[in-house]
Amino acid sequence: MRDQLGRSCIQVFLAGILWCCLAAAAMAHASLTGVVPADGAVVSVPPKTLSLSFSEPVSPLVLRLILPDGQARTLESFVLGDRTLEISAPGDLAAGTHVLAWRVVSEDGHPVAGSTIFSIGAPSSAPQVDREAIDWPVRAELWLSRIAIYIGLFFGIGGLFAVRWLIPGGADGLPIIRAATLLGMVATTLSLGLQGLDALGAPLSNLMDRTAWRAGLDTSFGLTVMVLLAAFLLAIITSSRSLVVSRAASLAALVAGSGALALSGHASSAAPQWLMRPAVFVHGLTIAVWIGALPPLAYALRQGGDLGRQALGCFSRLIPFCVAALTLAGLLLALVQVEEFGALFSTAYGNVLLAKMALLAALFLVVVINRWVFTKPVERGEGDATRRLGRAVVVETMIVLAVFAVAATWRFTPPPRAMALAAAQPASIHIHSDKAMAEVTFTPGRAGPVEVSAIILAPDFSPFTPKEVTFVLSNPKSGIEPMRRRAALQADGSWRASDVVVPLAGQWRLRVDILISDFELVRLQDDVEIAP
């Protein structure tokens, strides 16, 4: 405590002395006269030292290096020459774009700040620094509800379809099928609210809020929920009806349920829609027919006898076609979504697909064993084989559940297709004041080398040509001080700066300095979102 007090006293004393010096100091402020590596430079090897030269002697306040991954490192080791600051660069600099953000105080006591950029190897686009915080409870609930919906749709509705159309002996499984359907119905309902929370960025505690549910309904997922609920309801109320009614209803529920999947989601929103939506529909429908038949088949096999054999025969005749259609549709979806082979490894979406394919490989292995090892003996009526097949079907079901769990994470991973599309999108902002307006476009609107262009208009939308236009970019959250880039007037009347590197994704503050005449300067400022 005493120590602290002493230190504060010394600080105040020193500050006082310095303040006196300041008052007497020359009337000047420092400006940056040189940087090594030069602003915007691309160097082949990591620099050992960074140097900043100023027009006046300076003392550094803060020196920070923002690395390509968005982390900031404070630079402590520097040598102050007359007017040059030699800073030792960290030895472990990786390739990519670095920002040296500096804040110095000059003799006159005026703090001056700026940022300078250099790239090692090549300019990089970097991960987003201030990535939105992920609300894990909401996310976990969304994931669980998604799995439950799959269970309801594939085991519930698909199971009912199987019992009514394919495996009459599996009717013992009806309670399970009903339970799955009910689970799907509850999860579907709940997911509407969760979807709303996710869309609003609200916490789980707001689930009782009406706005969350309304927001959920407003997303494209709202329609999916409605149709799914109708399908589940239809399946539940007709599950114990007479065969004819129940058959028709189970078919209708199957078609509606699979159709609901095609109404929203990543895959359904991809182009070409006329191909992708049917592909999603076929994929969902064939999964339901195949997977839904597994539990009833297991029941029928446990019953044994003719009924079990009949069921197995029916299943093994139909299912290969079903799986073929399923695989084709799945491959088509994957091809469109992933686009490039490398994206399988480099994107979360691709990784999920790989995990899913690994599980599917295991599943198909079990399927093949069932088909070629167990099916024949069972059809011949060997009881031992029947039990083993029954167990294998349970294993199949478990793997399928794991596949659902993996596939449900796709809800959170944009496919490479969508990411590439978003990344190529320019970012535009319109800023206006009562003196001037600017339409500014970043092409592309993502981190890395970009071209910034602006159309400058008078407040009444009439074009006018200012003397000078300068873009000033800063990122206060990441500690990146203003970087200025002069724009050049183009033949089409726009102002363009093509030597801009936006080192990090996230929210940037753009200021457009418009020099209208020798003595009139208008500054327009707004925030712009730069994609990763």
Partner: protein, 176 residues
């Protein structure tokens, strides 16, 4: 320790000193209805380059402008019509110098100089306010420093990157 001290200094500096930086007027206040010697102090060039040209805009309400010639510099007076007619010791004055340019000189970045105008601050100017003289320094290669920003309502010079030099206007001296 060094950093905290420097930070304290910076905070202090921010609070006290912006007036020290940039192109400024040596005489910080003057009564309206009087003659004022506007001495522009130019402490440095643009980004290390020498200053070749100094351009001063005469604000409305300032008349009878007489620049002081400087050896080695070409003086230019750009005249025009004022927004209204001002009274100059009984003479209605509707036009005069609106901009003064010293050009062709070479003031090194590590040198200091002063540029002087003698002007009359009319009584139409409001005592209590600050009168700003926007100044442009031009250097080789099209580089310029423009001290042309005038604080808006509620702003101070500290909030501006390029504040125009200003003089605080005082009440007119009594008697005559």
């Amino acid at each position: 320790m060094l950093r905290t001290t420097l930070a304290t200094v910076a905070a202090l500096a921010l609070g006290t000193s912006a007036a020290f930086a940039h192109v400024s007027l040596q005489l910080k206040d003057a009564p309206v209805g009087s003659t004022y010697r506007a001495i522009f102090q130019v402490p440095h060039g643009c980004e290390g380059k020498p200053t070749n040209l100094v351009r001063v805009q005469i604000p409305e309400g300032v008349i009878a402008v007489k620049p002081q010639p400087k050896a080695g510099w070409t003086l230019e007076k750009i005249k025009g019509t004022y927004a209204k007619s001002y009274d100059y010791y009984g003479t209605p004055t509707g036009e005069g110098v609106k901009e003064v340019v010293w050009s062709g000189g070479n003031l090194g970045d590590d040198e200091y100089d002063e540029f002087v105008l003698r002007v009359y601050l009319t009584k139409d100017l409001k005592a209590g306010e600050t009168l700003h003289f926007p100044v442009v320094q031009e250097c080789p290669d099209g580089v310029a420093e423009r001290w042309i920003e005038i604080p808006a309502e509620g702003q101070s010079d500290d909030d501006l990157e390029l504040p125009a030099p200003g003089v605080k206007l005082l009440e007119a001296a009594s008697g005559h």
